[in-house]
Every structure is written in C-alpha cells, then in structure tokens.
Symmetry: C2
Subunit: 217 residues, 2 copies
C-alpha cells in the first residue's frame, strides 16, 4: 500500500474538518493518559506523541494542558446530561422507583461505558482538590429535581410511601448503584459484597424497596 | 537559638530510632505528594526534598517509589482494621442497626481523619488499575462477616426484619455513608443532596431503617 496513499486521496478534508479531527485525536490520547497516569504524570509532549501529532499542533488546538483536561470533563458532563446516558434512559423509563434492578443494571452500564471519564473525576479530586468537578456535583440535586419536574407524572411516584421525598430517594438509589459498580468496574473487585452480583443486588433492591415504597396490601 | 542546638542535645537517638524517625518523615512527605499530585506526578527526588533528606536516605529506607506507596496503603489498611477507626468504634457500639445517624457521623469522621489516604485509593484506581487495593476490597465482605461473628450477639441484630441479612445490610449502610461523606469531604461538595447534611441524613436514615428494621408494633 505504501506509495498509493497519496495517489488516491479518498476525500479532501477542509481545513476545519482536519482541525476538528485532530482535536478529537488529541482528546482521545489525553483521556487515555490522564485516566491511567494522572494529570501531573502526563505532559503535553506525552499527549502529542500518543496522538501522533506535533506539540505545536496540540498548542494550536488548546492553550495549555489544563484546558485539555477541562475539555474532557466537559465531554463527560455532556454525556451524563444526555438522554442517551444509560442511567437517564432507565430513569426516564420508570426504573425508579418501580424496577430498581433495572436501575442497577443501567448504573453498571454507565460506569462501564464511561470508565476512563469516571477515572478523571478521581484525578480531579486528587490533583485539583475537586475544583473542576465541584460545580457538577453541587448542581447534582438540582438536576435530579429538574428531571423529576419533567418526568415525574410518568414515573408512578405514588408508589413511594408517605414521607419519602422522590428526589432524596432517587439520589440514594442511583448514587448507591453507581458506587457499587465503580468498585466492580474501576477498582476491579467484582463481588465486593461477598457474593455474586445478582443475589447481592436482589438483597439490596429488597432493602431499598422496603425503605422507599408503600407496603403492598 | 542558632548555635545552641548542637551544644544541648536533648537526647541522643540510637541508630534505629533515627532510622525509624526518618522513615516516618519520608512517609509523611510522600503521602502529601501522592495524594495531591498523584503517583506518576511524584518523583523520589520530590519526596526527598519535601522530607528534607537526601535521595540516598530515601533509598536506604525504601528500595523504590512503589514500595513507599505500598507502605502508605498498608498504614491505611492497618488503621481501617483497628478498633480505634471511628467507623469500627461506632459499629462496635451498636450504631448498626440501631443508631444509623451515629453510623453516619462516624463515617464522616473516618473520611475527614483519613482524607489523604482515601485519596491514595483513587490514585491506585487510576494509576495502578486498582492493583494494590484490590485485595483489600475483595476481602471487605469477609471482614464485615468476621466483625459480625465477633460482635453480633451484642448488636441487637434481632431488630432487623426477617429476610435481611446482617452483613449485606451493614455494608449497604456503611458503604453509602462513606461515599456520601467522600463527596462532602474529598470532592468538596457539602450539600450534594440539595439540602443541609442533617436533614438529608434524617431522610436517608429513615429509608434505611424502614428497609432494614422490623416494623414497630
């Protein structure tokens, strides 16, 4: 194939397309590095080498290393806010409060799919004292509130027992399952409750349902 | 005071005491660096400079950087296993299942007191793919089981409702509260459930109690 590449250009990219493409390649390389050797352990030169571009090209796209890191967190927050994020899909389908096993499965899928981005959160907590992600977490309750304001009427929230506020209960369940599967997926410890995931989840779902739902007559 | 220090040696340290002391100083410096700039972002030279010792001194105490990191994780695991660890104190006093607000306070104290060590867990997850902490987490359920075998009779576990296994329920509560306060203490987001800690905990404790305990007549 050597020598033919120049001869048969499939498609000429515009300047803007090339720039967008190289920005994407740089971000993918940076995500891999930041999420495995940390922020301070990664240099702009490392990123350029991994992306197979010049450092000049990196600096053409981003003013500095920190703005690459921020761009990756922004990508993640955008995904987490999207209706396509597995946890959001499950919530919109009524997994809370009426099928918490489905909520758990969606939490697992969310962590597995975005594993390197979840690692970036840890990197931010350690190396930036949480300063980039603080706003995201401090607005978390508001996002759940907005979600409930929009989807509440479809969710059969009347199944919650008196005194249980939907937002708190929804956060307890989702935060718990995300953490459970972070240990499984990111820490690499599959059965940290001392039993297989399915029976462990069945016990946990039973506790949450009894804690949150009306008693069936 | 300059010039008097040599003249009035308070106490002559033995070779062994000096070595132990310098080992401790190196570990404190390394903990601060690893927990704020990560493992790959820290060099042995950085540690020596922060500890105000020579790199030769560091290598006299530790064969390499990774063994310093491992020694710090071992320190933490020893603390977490000790009866003095705030969460263990609360558990031994019966906070689970009969005073989960006290369990929550103990979780907060545990995270606040060992904050830099909790950060090391994140560093291990990111930079070592969790390889140092995996065993600790995979043995977690066994440790809770052993704790229950030892302390169970004193804990009024008969208050748990039928079908709720003590170990699972104890892990659900402790893991949840540790995670809640990790967001508060390490991520720097105090009210991430959208309200002050006390009322948020009251709602959460109510859900857990209803989920785990017998219904009072």
């Amino acid at each position: 194939m050597i020598g033919t590449e120049r001869a048969v250009p499939r498609k000429r990219l515009t300047q803007e397309e090339r720039s967008e493409r190289s920005r994407g390649i740089i971000l993918r390389a940076a995500l891999k590095l930041f999420s495995t050797v940390g922020y301070h352990g990664t240099t702009v030169r490392d990123i350029a080498e991994a992306a197979k571009v010049s450092t000049g090209n990196v600096y053409h796209q981003f003013p500095d290393k920190e703005s690459i890191f921020r761009a990756l967190l922004d990508e993640y927050f955008e995904q987490v806010a999207s209706p396509e994020y597995p946890l959001n899909k499950a919530l919109a389908a009524g997994a809370f409060p009426n099928d918490m096993a489905a909520l758990a499965r969606a939490a697992r899928e969310s962590v597995a799919k975005y594993r390197p981005y979840v690692a970036l959160i840890y990197v931010d907590v350690v190396e930036f004292d949480g300063s980039h992600i603080r706003r995201f977490y401090s607005e978390m309750a508001d996002r759940f509130g907005a979600f409930l304001a929009k989807h509440g009427p479809e969710l059969k929230l009347q199944n919650l027992r008196d005194g249980v506020r939907p937002r708190t209960a929804m956060m307890v369940a989702t935060r718990f399952f995300l953490q459970y599967f972070s240990v499984e997926v990111l820490f690499g410890v599959p059965n940290h409750f001392g039993q297989e995931t399915e029976p462990a989840l069945a016990e946990i779902v039973d506790i949450l349902e009894r804690g949150m739902l009306q008693r069936r007559p």
